[in-house]
Subunit: 192 residues, 2 copies
């Protein structure tokens, strides 16, 4: 392997490890543990990332596409606005009972860091912004009375549902997330 | 001061410090920092608490009454079920814009620990259970079609609103939390 290829794969392993461990154990995971799990020396890590904070931020960014693909329907899905919004909540309900589900990774990072200026918080906030935009776009297409307000309601529902499922407080049985989304869509006049 | 009085005040300082620092900085706050801030030796701390985890759990328990008084109306408040439920969300909205507001401390602890068996997670879950019971009782008194389901919806709304306000993602302007609660109460048939 060329040096460039090695660097790329080292970087990849660090990003993957940081994402997995931070999600499972929290952002407090140590550099020692990160490097050991990734099979990378600390020296190599610091050649690629200025700090653990930067590695965390980069790992969140790196997974944004994958995260969006997991929570949102593809842009060309045939469903109407209501169906596309409902799909987000169907997906939470599908994952909620899993013991490996700790809720939205981007919410967790922000709750844990308690610092909106932290590089990882900034990245997390930006990525979550895309979900709000998705809700806003669909709300507008669906003829919502106040698309911005509905989008904020849905974002709130998303974070509440994923957080409560993530801590094991509610496994979303009985369609808790989808039926609640349905109530909000009805009230906003989004019928299809 | 008698030895017993000294012990009680040392315990009090540790509980207060743990509550304040864990809320502001997270459960990862170190024993060193906790003891230094409380002005207590580590030896004294370990005479009172078997571990930092036990101190954390005790500090959450210690503040439960205060927390409940902050988020819920008093048992003898004159408002009807709808008004009493709405008051919980009015209170979130009132606190949301504050930079010192990091959302519900009991949700944060559970999100951070990612371990439902941790002593602090157990205590947090028990305390939050009281809010769910409050919602269930009021939902039943208010004639909700399905009081249990409405209570779960309101708990989800509470955690979503407090989490999003706590991370600075949404300051709840325009009555986001109260109006959303109103939509859920309307749909469940709780008119007053």
């Amino acid at each position: 392997m060329s040096t460039e290829t090695t660097k790329a794969s080292t970087r990849e392993r660090l990003l993957e490890t940081a994402a997995v461990l931070a999600y499972r154990d929290g952002v407090g995971v140590g550099v020692e543990t990160l490097c050991k799990t990734a099979g990378v020396s600390k020296r190599s890590m610091y050649q690629l990332f200025a700090s653990k904070d930067d590695l965390l931020a980069a790992s969140l960014e790196d997974r944004a596409e994958q995260f969006n693909a997991v929570i949102m329907p593809p842009p060309d899905s045939p469903a109407g606005p209501r169906g596309r919004i409902m799909e987000v909540f169907e997906r939470i309900e599908a994952r909620a009972p899993s013991p490996d589900y700790y809720g939205c990774p981007y919410l967790a990072v922000q709750v844990e860091l308690k610092d909106a200026e932290h590089p990882a918080s900034r990245v997390a906030a930006q990525i979550k912004q895309r979900l709000l935009e998705f809700f806003r776009t669909e709300a507008r297409r669906g003829g919502a009375a106040d698309p911005e307000f509905l989008a904020r309601q849905l974002a709130l529902l998303f974070d509440g549902a994923s957080a409560r499922a993530g801590i094991g407080a509610d496994a979303m049985q009985g369609g808790l997330a989808t039926r609640t989304a349905g109530v909000l869509l009805d009230a906003a006049g989004v019928r299809q």
